[in-house]
């Protein structure tokens, strides 16, 4: 079978069952009973014999030279087992790899610090309490250096340098031109231009990162238990950083309390590994606390300055798009943050048939925390910019914003469709989604309501936007910024025991998306059993099949491919057993409803259990060349992926989920506070595997979108001191801020994926910020001002309203 698995069912009709019982049903999750009773082993619940606890000393300066380190008093504190410094890191580890290359350091600062929160030293002690006491006894002398806080100034030749050896602060720059952009803008009837500022926000999972590392001093092996989002990927990285053969590094991923890309953890894992090494092999636990996550964790993303232009014909046809981005990545490139500036290539022109486009991209270093991945991985701010420009066009031409979008949609009969930046959208019907949305929301009535509210002097606005969620990422999508490789393996091992019970082994831990439940649904329908007959197991990284884990709206599709591929291989073995016992030709046996039956005489059959049990207990009855193993592994990857071409164009994402959102908001004239009055969603992610978990993912992403649009911002001052250091400062949306949404589905199955499903894990984070911002700006339109800074906090909107008043008086 090929990596894609030509034999894998492309639709529900191709499943070996006469009636689909579980796939597509809002099945209760197999994960839930453990979670609800508090018995799930999150990493902080785990304890090993002799375990020590780690605390990390972090830099109070954004940019400074380290001139003296004295750990003697800390080492003398009773209960302290070891203190680790940059000197140890330099001696025992390699510089952390970065993307782009050449912008990194060691897991503990050596000669200088580059951001507040950078680890400088670490302690292993009998308890976390004692470890933190010891931090206060470590003496570090710093010589402060000029701080680089504004990426627009950081690119100037006279800027202080974050990495002196590089000679400048520009981590990456490239002008992508796809088609005759100059020609399109020269020929345009109207050119609209605008600038935008999207502030830093981030993942902030409820559970912070945590790890227990144990270095075997005799065998030189490393075992790490932790909240790893991509266990084998992390393990390989640690093997490289710590200079251990990769087959001596064993990672055990625990279920984790959300990630959204924000688990980070490379530095913490290295630090605990080195502390374990320094203590002669005692296990060392580090649980990132919330302040550490907020100032030094893997959570921050998308600190951006945008300029955008749209070329337009008088009839509303958009003929070109230019986007200029300065992306503030912070103090190094170790956190994959640069991927966030590359991913918009996968949906650069949104849902629209815009023929040419240009992307002028600069990724710049400053003295802020290095940015990392966050759910959506980059497109959410880009989508906001594109959707704002579409609304500007509608306003300028006095066309209804929904109709302007309809006019520019990629037509339903043009799929698969390649956008100027090279990605291919597999399928979709954007106009049908819009129609469904407008009908569900009662769009005309909403506009009438808005008119009435405006007549009363209220600032009520409506946002109607459409976006693409690129699904099933491939490394090729990030080849432009130096990511190597094509294809992302996701494996599953399916086995059936003598009682007909099914075990599925995968490489990733539970994280919240309900993927283990999805696996039970797939295998129950495939082999004609119930979901409780299926157990999903996650072995360690040395035992699990090749895998990546959740990320890039990929795992639902990928694990479906892996599980069905493996199930197909097991079926093929069982068919051979049945054919042998029933004295039939193999081609005459088929699996259907849990039975291996003779095609022409379906009453002649073996059950899956009989065939599996025979395989493992009656070698004498098996075909001579068949082993006693009703078990198979299949590793799935998206088909037909490549590296970027010379223009940076790449077919990076296999699926294009579409969502249309309709939001109605009111801005309080006196305070600038925004209330979300109504919210409607139509989404099309192809075949819906478990509508209840899917709707939960969408709604959860709405909440994060509301946070992005209205609340969440990592605030740094001009010295790059972070001001958002607790959850009292960094505002996560609560039940009071998140709208209860009305949702409907359109189902356009993907022609390219197992069962026709499309990636949907990132969901509404791609759409909600744009929808709310467009609604706010619709509310503000009568005042002649618009909000172009995100989040649109009460203070920012109040200031705009005051400016409008001053302008009028």
């Amino acid at each position: 079978m090929s990596a894609f698995g030509d034999d894998i069912p492309r639709s529900l009709a191709e499943m070996p069952t006469s009636e689909i019982k579980y796939i597509g049903q809002p099945l209760q999750r197999s994960e839930d009973r453990m979670l609800l009773t508090g018995r799930t082993e999150f990493i902080d619940n785990a304890t090993l014999p002799g375990m020590l606890h780690c605390a990390i000393l972090r830099s109070p300066y954004a940019h400074a030279r380290i001139t003296r380190v004295d750990t003697s008093a800390a080492e003398a504190l009773p209960g302290v087992a070891a203190v680790l410094t940059g000197e140890d890191a330099q001696r025992w580890t390699r510089v952390l790899p970065t993307t782009p290359e050449g912008w990194g350091g060691y897991c503990l600062a050596t000669d200088k610090v580059r951001f507040v929160g950078e680890p400088v030293a670490a302690v292993a002690a009998a308890s976390r309490y004692v470890a933190e006491d010891a931090l206060e006894l470590i003496e570090i002398d710093y010589e402060p250096l000029p701080v680089v806080s504004d990426p627009r100034k950081a690119i100037e030749p006279d800027s202080p340098l974050i990495f002196e050896e590089n000679g400048h602060n520009i981590m990456y720059e490239r002008l992508f031109t796809w088609g005759d952009v100059d020609g399109a803008f020269a020929a345009a009837d109207i050119v609209l231009s605008e600038s935008f500022r999207w502030h830093r926000l981030g993942a902030n999972p409820l559970e912070t990162f945590g790890v227990i590392s144990q270095w075997d001093a005799v065998d030189n092996t490393l075992t790490c238990h932790g909240a790893f989002q991509a266990p084998s990927y992390m393990a390989r990285g640690r093997a490289a950083a710590l200079d251990i053969p990769s087959n001596k590094v064993r990672f055990i991923a625990h279920p984790h309390g959300g990630s959204f890309g924000g688990k980070g953890g490379g530095r913490g894992t290295d630090i605990t590994a080195l502390l374990s090494r320094k203590t002669g092999g005692r296990p060392v636990k580090w649980i990132e606390d919330r302040i550490e996550l907020l100032i030094g964790g893997g959570s921050q993303a998308w600190d951006r300055w945008y300029d955008a232009s749209l070329a337009l014909k008088n009839d509303g046809t958009v003929t070109g798009l230019r986007v200029k981005l300065i992306d503030d990545l912070g103090a190094n490139a170790e956190g994959f943050g640069a991927s966030g500036a590359a991913k918009p290539l996968a949906c650069f022109t949104g849902c629209y048939a815009i023929p040419v486009a240009e992307y002028d991209l600069k990724i710049v270093a400053t003295n802020k925390l290095p940015a990392g991945p966050y759910r959506g991985m980059g497109p959410p701010p880009h989508n906001f910019v594109v959707e704002h420009m579409m609304d500007m066009a509608a306003r300028r031409l006095d066309i209804d914003p929904a109709e302007l979008r309809r006019k520019n949609y990629i037509p339903a009969d043009k799929f698969p469709y390649t956008i100027p930046s090279g990605n291919e959208y597999d399928s979709g019907n954007y106009e049908a989604a819009l129609d469904k949305l407008l009908e569900m929301g009662g769009y005309k009535g909403m506009r009438a309501e808005q008119e009435a509210a405006r007549a009363e002097g209220r600032l009520v606005g409506i946002g109607v936007v459409s976006t693409i969620e690129p699904g099933v990422f491939d490394w090729g999508a990030y080849s432009i910024i130096g990511a190597r490789g094509t294809g992302v393996p996701e494996g599953a091992t399916v086995s059936i025991d003598v009682w007909g019970k099914i075990i599925c082994r995968v490489g990733f831990a539970m994280e919240g998306q309900g993927q283990y439940t999805l696996i039970t649904q797939l295998l129950a329908d495939y082999f004609g059993v119930t979901p409780t007959d299926v157990e999903v197991i996650q072995p360690d990284t040395l035992s699990a099949p090749p895998h990546f884990g959740p990320g890039g709206s990929r795992l639902g599709v990928a694990i479906t491919g892996a599980v069905l591929g493996a199930a197909g291989l097991v079926r093929d073995k069982l068919i051979r057993v049945a054919a042998h016992l029933l004295q039939q030709d193999v081609s005459n046996i088929e699996l259907m409803d849990g039975r291996l039956r003779v095609k022409e005489e379906p009453e002649k059959a073996l059950t899956v259990r009989q065939a599996a049990a025979t395989m493992m207990s009656r070698a004498d009855l098996l075909p001579k060349d068949l082993d006693m193993s009703p078990e198979a592994t299949f590793v799935w990857s998206a088909p037909d992926r490549k590296q970027a071409d010379e223009q940076g164009r790449v077919k990076g994402y296999l699926t294009a989920t579409n969502a249309a959102h309709l939001a109605m908001v009111e801005v309080d004239r006196e305070t600038g506070a925004v209330s979300i009055l109504r919210y409607f969603i139509v989404d099309d992610c192809g075949t819906r595997m478990n509508p209840a978990t899917l709707e939960g993912m969408i709604q959860g992403a709405v909440a994060q979108g509301v946070g992005a649009a209205l609340l969440e911002e990592y605030v740094y001052d001009e010295d790059c001191q972070p001001h958002t250091t607790t959850l009292m400062d960094y505002l996560l949306p609560t039940v009071h801020e998140v709208p209860m949404t009305e949702k409907a589905a359109l189902v356009t199955p993907s022609p390219f994926t197992p069962l026709g499903a499309k990636g949907a894990g990132e969901g509404a984070i791609n759409t909600t910020p744009a929808a709310i911002m467009c609604a706010i700006n619709d509310a503000l339109a009568p005042l002649g001002v618009s909000a172009r800074e995100v989040p649109a906090t009460p203070n920012r909107l109040w200031t705009l309203i005051q400016e409008a008043k001053a302008g009028k008086s």
Binding site: Q28, R33, L36, D44, L206, I291, G696, T726, L727, T734
Partner: protein
């Protein structure tokens, strides 16, 4: 206040309390938080630490029937009290109606915040068997969930209330 300020945070103190009806006793440093006592000394790891500042509500437990943040309380402040944690909800393998409603309505995803939500809902329904949506929101306003967007949690609370009334 003056009396409390004199306590040596490192001094060992004896503390005892009832947790889920069982007596727990320990000798701890005075500075030990309640959540650390529950998780480390009592081994009851179902209560989670999310933010350590009393904002996110993941560490919510019931103290003498009242929902409290165990991350910003000292264990000594619970001396002699009767506590309920998430481990005290299910009995003999049967989920509590609130837990069952969360499972039925998909009121959880990663499940890390869930024990805190369950305890807040538990307090709410003990005093408001038929809560309005606004009352539910007020009761849950101090619990942050990063995964669900709250809609299915609201459904779960309504369903639990309905089932517990009948």
């Amino acid at each position: 206040m003056i009396e409390q300020a004199r306590v040596d945070p490192y001094a060992k103190r004896r503390v005892s309390m009832l947790v889920n009806g069982q007596p727990y006793e320990g000798e701890i440093e005075a500075r030990t938080t309640l959540v650390d006592f529950l998780r480390i000394d009592c081994g009851l790891t179902g209560t989670h630490v999310g933010c350590e500042h009393g904002v996110c509500g993941a560490c919510t437990v019931l103290m003498d029937g009242q929902a409290v943040r165990s991350c910003i309380m000292l264990a000594l402040q619970a001396e002699g009290a009767s506590l309920t944690t998430v481990e005290g909800l299910a009995t003999e393998g049967e989920l509590h109606p609130i837990q069952q409603a969360f499972a039925d309505c998909h009121g959880l995803q990663c499940g890390f915040c869930t024990p805190g939500f369950l305890m807040s809902v538990s307090e709410l329904l003990s005093s408001h068997p038929d809560p309005s949506d606004d009352e539910i929101k007020d009761a849950l306003g101090g619990n942050v969930c990063r995964c669900t967007g709250y809609q299915q949690i609201m459904d779960a609370v309504r369903l639990a209330a309905e089932r517990m009334r009948t």
